[in-house]
């Protein structure tokens, strides 16, 4: 499971490397978009089975019968996927610097943005994954629902901040971006906490 996710992240980065092999990469400004597209798509495959697995293995009823609130289920899933996706993103980041000869930017701010972006990504991704697990064609419906909402909020803001970091910014310079991503994180976690009841209940 986790193995194949790591391999997928490797493959996405490798495909970017192949595609950009004839471009003088040191001249381009593509570092931050490449990084975040890799995070987004490899993370999406990590999110897809979170609730699907419960439905397929028939453990959903067991979860619902357990004397815990749906919010607790949501937070449990949120924490576990957060750890997985964060590990995946750090792995992709290391690979990125291996594949693309970039000068190292300010690592503290880069890690901050990656961690904050992953919080928002998994918070909303879990909610959407829970919705899509109830649908037919759920594998297709997850990206269909995730892309318009997530790409234009957390991912786009993170791409902008990461771009500044690769441009030489330090933590103090990207405070605006960090505040914005933090706001999205809070909104997504809160909406997940409030709305998961309506999704899981039968």
């Amino acid at each position: 499971m986790i193995n194949s996710m790591l391999i997928l992240a490797l493959m996405i980065l490798a495909s970017f490397r192949f595609i950009f092999s004839f471009i003088d990469f040191s001249e381009t400004q593509l570092a931050s978009p490449i990084l975040w597209i890799t995070f987004f798509f490899s993370g999406m495959f990590a999110l897809a089975p979170v609730y699907m697995r419960e439905v397929e293995q028939g453990t959903k009823e067991g979860l619902m019968l357990a004397p815990i609130s749906p919010s607790a289920i949501y937070f449990g899933k949120f924490l576990s996927t957060f750890v997985i996706v964060l590990g995946l993103n750090l792995f992709s980041t290391v690979l990125f610097f291996v594949f693309f000869a970039q000068p190292f930017p300010d690592m503290v701010s880069l890690l901050t943005i990656i961690i904050l972006g992953t919080v928002g990504f998994t918070a909303l991704g879990n909610l959407i994954s829970a919705i899509s697990s109830n649908l037919s064609q759920s594998q297709v419906m997850l990206p269909v629902m995730l892309i318009p909402i997530l790409l234009f909020t957390v991912v786009m803001t993170s791409v902008e901040a990461t771009f500044q970091i690769f441009d030489g910014a330090v933590l103090a310079d990207i405070m605006d971006g960090i505040k914005l991503i933090l706001a999205f994180d809070i909104i997504f976690v809160a909406s997940g906490y409030l709305l998961i009841d309506y999704i899981i209940e039968e």
């Binding site: 919705i131 629902m145 318009p148 909402i149 234009f152 999205f184 709305l195 309506y198």
Partner: protein, 306 residues
Amino acid sequence: MKKTDYLKMIFVLIAAVLTMTGLYMAFVWAPPHGTHIFDLDQEHKDVYLAEPISDELIEAFNSSEEHINLSYNATIKQSLNQNGRLWLIKDGDSTFWIMDSDTELKVFAENMGDVQRIFYFHVASAWVAYLAFIITFIGSLAYLKTNKMKYDILAFSSAEIGIVFCTAAIITGGLWAKGTWGEFWRWEDRKLFMTLVLWLVFMAYLALRSNSDPGKARARLSAVFSIIGCMCIPLSFAANRIWTQSHPTVIASESGSLQTSMVFTLITAVFAFSFLYGAILLTKMDVENMREELEEIKQEIGDLDG
């Protein structure tokens, strides 16, 4: 007849009358010409008509090689005077305009002609699209609060109509932009971007509906999704700095504002489209209610057979 049937008829009648009036106003009454659209950087909005324009400036304009031809019959040249570089603009009526050189010139249109008339349809459909999506949002909230199917039907019907009008707004906007800006789309424009994202979100909403079995579960899931969508999109646009503003913020005739006849035409168009939306919404909700009744009757017949 039910009460809503009368309401629907009244809405259709008002929409028909207003549409006829609006068409008359747009194509006969309101002048197609005489609209300048300046679309400049937020920071440098000080466009001014230089009066009087000196002969030297006109000569400088005529002798200058460097010029940019815009999509409309206006010519722009750079020139020098004692204040530094200037944009010199000569439009179709050989009126000269002059602008600071640090003003980033984006759009200049004069004598827009029939292209201007698309504007009435564009603004009205964009307005209806936003209204429809807001009503979907309210309907979804009301459904989660009360658990009544009628709110789910309201939300779904409104979203479907909103998609139609949003598509119309995007297409007419593209045509209008081709005539004014010389290109169909501008990715750096915030309003265009926001409309496209809303369109995508509600396409996903409709895909969600069509991939789910009718019933309480579908109503809940789609309500949750539309609430998340409607909540996030405006937030992300309220707080970003990625886009520069290039939507027509200044729509001015030479006197400095949209001409009165055009304002009235625009208002008529907006009201006509709003009533049209109301009529379609009521019809669509009737259809959805009937579909639900039909399902119930089928169930009963099935029960009898069994």
